[in-house]
């Protein structure tokens, strides 16, 4: 019974918050901002899943490495933040291409399990390497966008950062769409995703195409990390939580849908901020992500926008 009482107590506290429109709006904006960052990392996960049929558990770690590089370029080398982030995206893309060439390509691309284990090993290596090189002291990375808020309603602020985060994600999706739908490289990438054997038979070099996918995914993930970090502090375990939320976003949107990654990212960002505020359970933020994954996988394993696909494990 005490459990029941405490549950009711929680609702007691929060019910009066429900009528607070400004709080709703504030959390809504915050949710959009968070959601945009989850969407970016989810996009990276979807890129890899689409082309190779497995989940890259080291995606967050590659982004972590990228964000630390952005820190080095901007704070230590004094480059403007936006330039530093672009350089870091290029650098993490290069690392990802190398990783793909050396650790991923030797395996037959249709056996997911060993590849998943390799990405877990990679996660251990990159996360500890970041700890070794930069230590565990927290650092701060400035945002690419100006501070302040052009639009305010009481406590609810639509900040430049929120606008910037959203704009960045939509721009990334737009560019990605153009790249995939309108260019020859994009056609090769989609052909490889669709049918590996036929892709070889039309003369597409599968390995470099997948390497390109890895590079692109790492760059997008790094951009996502650069959007998240200014809200938090930079330390080696920061991308883990982001990875979990992004996995939930990717699962919700459908693991092979780019649009789904964005919708899923925004939905998870909103759900997390609204639910956690009004239920007053800040420790349960991660649990919302797990609940999303569980419900989606049980009710609709292809997610909102994903296509049915034969599981390759």
């Amino acid at each position: 019974m005490p459990v029941l009482a405490s549950v009711l107590g929680v609702f007691d506290i929060t019910l009066d918050k429900l009528g607070d429109g400004e709080l709703w709006l504030a959390q809504f904006f915050r949710g959009l901002s968070d959601g945009a960052t989850y969407a970016s990392v989810a996009l990276a996960l979807v890129m890899i899943y689409k082309s190779t049929g497995f989940i890259n558990f080291a995606q967050g770690s590659l982004a972590l490495l990228g964000v630390y590089l952005a820190y080095v370029f901007s704070v230590e080398q004094g480059l403007p933040v936006a330039v530093a982030v672009v350089c870091a995206m290029a650098a993490s893309a290069a690392v990802a291409m190398f990783v793909e060439r050396v650790l991923i390509r030797p395996f037959p691309p249709n056996h997911a399990l060993p590849l998943v284990i390799v990405t877990l090993g990679l996660l251990l290596i990159i996360d500890s390497a970041v700890g070794i090189v930069w230590g565990f002291r927290t650092r701060s990375l400035p945002s690419m966008f100006p501070s302040g808020a052009p639009i305010e309603w009481g406590i609810a602020q639509l900040t430049w950062r929120t606008i910037g985060n959203l704009g960045t994600v939509f721009a990334v999706v737009g560019l990605l769409y153009l790249l995939l739908a309108r260019t020859k490289t994009g056609l090769a990438f989609r052909a490889v995703s669709s049918n590996l054997e036929s892709a070889r038979l039309v003369g597409i070099r599968v390995g470099p195409t997948l390497g390109f996918g890895w590079a692109l995914a790492a760059a997008i993930g790094t951009l996502g990390g650069a959007l998240v970090v200014p809200d938090l502090l930079l330390e080696p375990s920061i991308m883990l939580r982001v990875l979990i939320f992004s996995l939930a976003a990717a699962a919700l949107g459908g693991l092979d849908s780019l649009v789904g990654a964005v919708v899923g990212g925004l939905a998870v960002g909103l759900a997390r901020n609204l639910l956690v505020t009004f239920l007053d359970l800040s420790e349960l933020a991660l649990a919302t992500a797990v609940a999303v994954i569980l419900v989606v996988l049980l009710v609709r394993p292809t997610g909102l926008f994903g296509s049915a696909r034969v599981e390759r494990v």
Binding site: P114, L284, V290, L297, E311, R312
Partner: protein, 380 residues
Amino acid sequence: MGVVAAGSHRHRRRQIIGWALFAVVVALIPFLIADTYSPTILGNRYTVGLGNLSQSVGLMVAILGLNIATGYSGQLSLGHSFFVGSGAYLTAVLVNEFHWSYLSTLGVVVPGLFVFGVLFGLPALRIQGLYLGLLTFAVAAVFPSIIRLDEVADRTGGSNGLLIDSDLEAPAWAPLDTVTGWLHAVPGVGSRVPDGLTGRQEEAVYKYFLLVIMALVCFWLVRNIVAGRVGRALVAIRDNPLGAAASGVDLAAYKTLSFGISAAVGGVAGTMLAMHSGFVGPDEFGFSMAILLIAGLIVGGSGTLHGAVAGGLAIQFVPHWSSQTQTLPGTDVALEGPYGTAILGGLLIAIIFALPGGAAHWFRRTKARLMPVAPQPPGS
């Protein structure tokens, strides 16, 4: 040595000698390193205590549990740390609040986690392969925040963790001190054994034996399960689910059962780890442990019992050794800090590349080459 026929008198004798040697080594080790042992590896002094070994025994049992769901029945579980953590916290709370003894908490931990594992296995019936990996990965990451929830923090200690207020003192009837005295008197070996045990040493030796016995019981039970009907069904499900179903294996029942057993064994491992350290903290059982257990499983050898032993040793001693290595010979690289995890990650990838069966596979092959056993001819 020549080829020996399986089941022959000589083969049995060799097996018995092997097991006896194993028993002697396991029984002697605590007395030899009760006072810590400091070999020099790659030019660095490496100090290892009995406690490290005890913890490794707990990890072996954790990997053994994971082995049932993932190694034998092929369901990618990246969240085994959740079960281990639940077992550890259950033990800690029962000991602290109800003053149970450690061992009696197993009466709750084993059935409780079995049921929990079965419940966990129910969604896993619909969610397979990578998707299951995805879900369990997230579940592993969420354990620490559940422990920290305000609603339970006064029970679980929240972020601070929970000191368990019960010591595992060696009972009066355990002749550990006497045995130490005898061993000390043995010429040769004796010089490495202290002539008596301090209170703390005695406690460590007692804990070690307790944990080893618990581990042996777990391994024996799991061996019986996997060598029998259930084990064959699980392996059939892993290798060919459709074929298994067509041969009358009830996939749903066996898959949930495998999660139940896996979780129960994981819970026992949690109890063992709580017994070992007398402390439970939320981040110990987070997703890093989940990944380390997978690493141990793969490095040791998935789907084998030896693999769990090798894996438990690897995930305990690789990071522990590296944390004490101040310089690598010929370089000025210090392996302190997070290098251990990086090395494990590298080991994991190297094993996938070079030795897909893990250490157990290598061990079996080497043994087969050095001491060949011919299969029993049919009809004899």
